[in-house]
Symmetry: C2
Subunit: 326 residues, 2 copies
């Protein structure tokens, strides 16, 4: 089973992730073999598997080293992530994801909606089968709700040129940070860590997730030499404004207003103008500073974790992940 | 709080159902108040609430009479049902449901997909909070999976003129009967009934659900004096064939083939011809016979339940529900 090349530097995590993917595979059974294959393709599409990786690393800190359970929790989180991606693709009418045709593009939105639903149930089945307590499930449903609330908020904020950094942070907190927080928390809690350590793990995951999403937004804005990449172009047209744009707009709203108001009718010239404005007002630099703040918070809290080989891996992974070049 | 008038004859169940709806209401919190209101409207749209009613009735047979828990299980089942309806509406592009504008028609499919997802999580939250055991959750996720599998199969069978009664039964077993079975089972199991009685409750629910769905399909076919109602017309055009049509086609496929093949291009004359053929080949009568078989199985098993006032209500309700006139 092939996983993302980034894990070559972490052989222990890589071995665990392969096992985790196998567990997901063993838990997907759909009568319609074509649809089953689509789900298996999703698993093997080479996603980064960050959420289960963090969950597994944090599960090393507890006294209960039941490998089967730790694996199941990690798998449940990745399946939950997959479910939200499939539904996101339905909503964005996305033709491809990770280089593969999306479920909705291949089979239509009907199948894609139910496929996402099916994956949600697989997530809960994995948890119910291996988790020790209903508390874990309650925590996970609450996490899931926050994630969905983040998505619903995103809808709500579309085309809102007055969106503030605070609203943006609230949105990515629901959309991305919650799942990272849940991953770190579940790993710690299910392996028997104290409430305090579990809570701290949640905070660390939350800060990693915030930094990760801001970095992702920045990368979209600085992808190519001669203009934005396609994702950011689509985002702007669809009224989804992220941190580099929001920072650049602070105090300079009037310059952006007529350009953004065009929405889907934006021309190449308009986009070039927006890009120049973001550069002029240092949107990317300001966003990067914010990401660094979250990264440093996470790393500082991590340094207080018990001294184990996994702690070292955790710090290394997080540094490499969040110190991506501009 | 108003509920469906059918419950006027069952004052005890009616009181419980109102309380159950209140519990659902108390568990729905969305930051976006407009979307929250849409969910509350769904709750108050006057659905029949059959699934929670059966769950509550079966919960009377166990030794553990924890009302809060029984209510939560019933509420979880109704919320699960609502979630599947919202996603069904996305897929069918339905403009109205129970006389109200659908979520997807009002807010777009984006919001509708996430609204359904949110309701799924409310279902699991209710179960995790009140259920005694992870076993219940595992059972519910398995039930949910079977329901989704039924939907995926339905997609698969569309426009298949060779669909057999057996395939039809398998489909409605997933689509409808599973949730009725799950409702009766959960009520019994969570109130502490023996494994045997819980299993029997599952079978009873399954047979009620099968009969209910066949009756529903029949009603669609016999709704109006001068033709099919709109739902059945849409179903046939979209390639969804139910029992009256499938029975009529047995041994007479060639008569139907050219008409059905037109799909969305079907004319009023084509539809009239199909209707005449179904009448000629007694499709409705044969389907009704099948429904009666399931009803009788359910009633026979019910007669062996412990003799309580609730048992009497259960038999009365089931008889009234499934003996609807042709």
């Amino acid at each position: 089973m092939k996983i993302h090349p980034m894990w070559q530097d972490y052989p222990n995590i890589a071995t665990d992730l392969v096992e985790m993917l196998q567990l997901i595979e063993d838990n997907i059974h759909v009568r319609n073999k074509e649809i089953e294959q689509t789900m298996l393709d999703l698993i093997h599409a080479g996603g980064k598997l960050l959420r289960p990786a963090y969950s597994l690393l944090f599960s090393s800190f507890g006294p209960n080293q039941q490998k089967e359970k730790n694996m199941a929790v990690a798998a449940a989180l990745e399946v939950l992530h997959m479910a939200t991606l499939v539904h996101d693709d339905v909503i964005d009418d996305a033709p491809t994801r990770r280089g593969h045709e999306t479920v909705q593009s291949k089979y239509g939105k009907d199948i894609a909606v139910y496929t996402g639903d099916y994956l949600f149930t697989v997530c809960f089945r994995l948890l119910a089968k291996y988790a020790d307590s209903l508390e874990a499930i309650e925590m996970d449903t609450k996490g899931m709700e926050r994630i969905l609330m983040g998505e619903l908020d995103q809808m709500h904020l579309r085309y809102n040129q007055d969106v503030t950094i605070r609203q943006y942070l609230k949105r990515i907190s629901g959309k991305t940070a919650q799942l990272f927080a849940l991953s770190c928390y579940s790993g710690a809690f299910e392996s028997g860590c104290s409430k305090e350590l579990s809570r701290k793990s949640y905070d660390i995951g939350n800060n990693i997730g915030m930094a990760f999403q801001i970095m992702d937004d920045i990368l979209d804005y600085s992808q190519t030499a001669d203009g934005f990449g396609k994702p950011v172009l689509e985002d702007i047209k669809q009224g989804v404004y992220t941190s580099p744009l929001i920072y650049a707009m602070q105090g300079h709203k009037e310059a952006f207003r007529p350009l953004l108001a065009k929405g889907q009718d934006m021309t190449t010239t308009d986009v070039a103008k927006i890009q120049a404005l973001i550069k002029q007002y240092q949107g990317v630099e300001k966003a990067h500073k914010l990401a660094t703040k979250y990264t440093n918070k996470a790393l500082k809290d991590m340094s207080k974790l018990p001294d184990t080989p996994e702690k070292e891996q955790l710090i290394l992974l997080t540094k490499n992940l969040l110190a991506r070049v501009l």
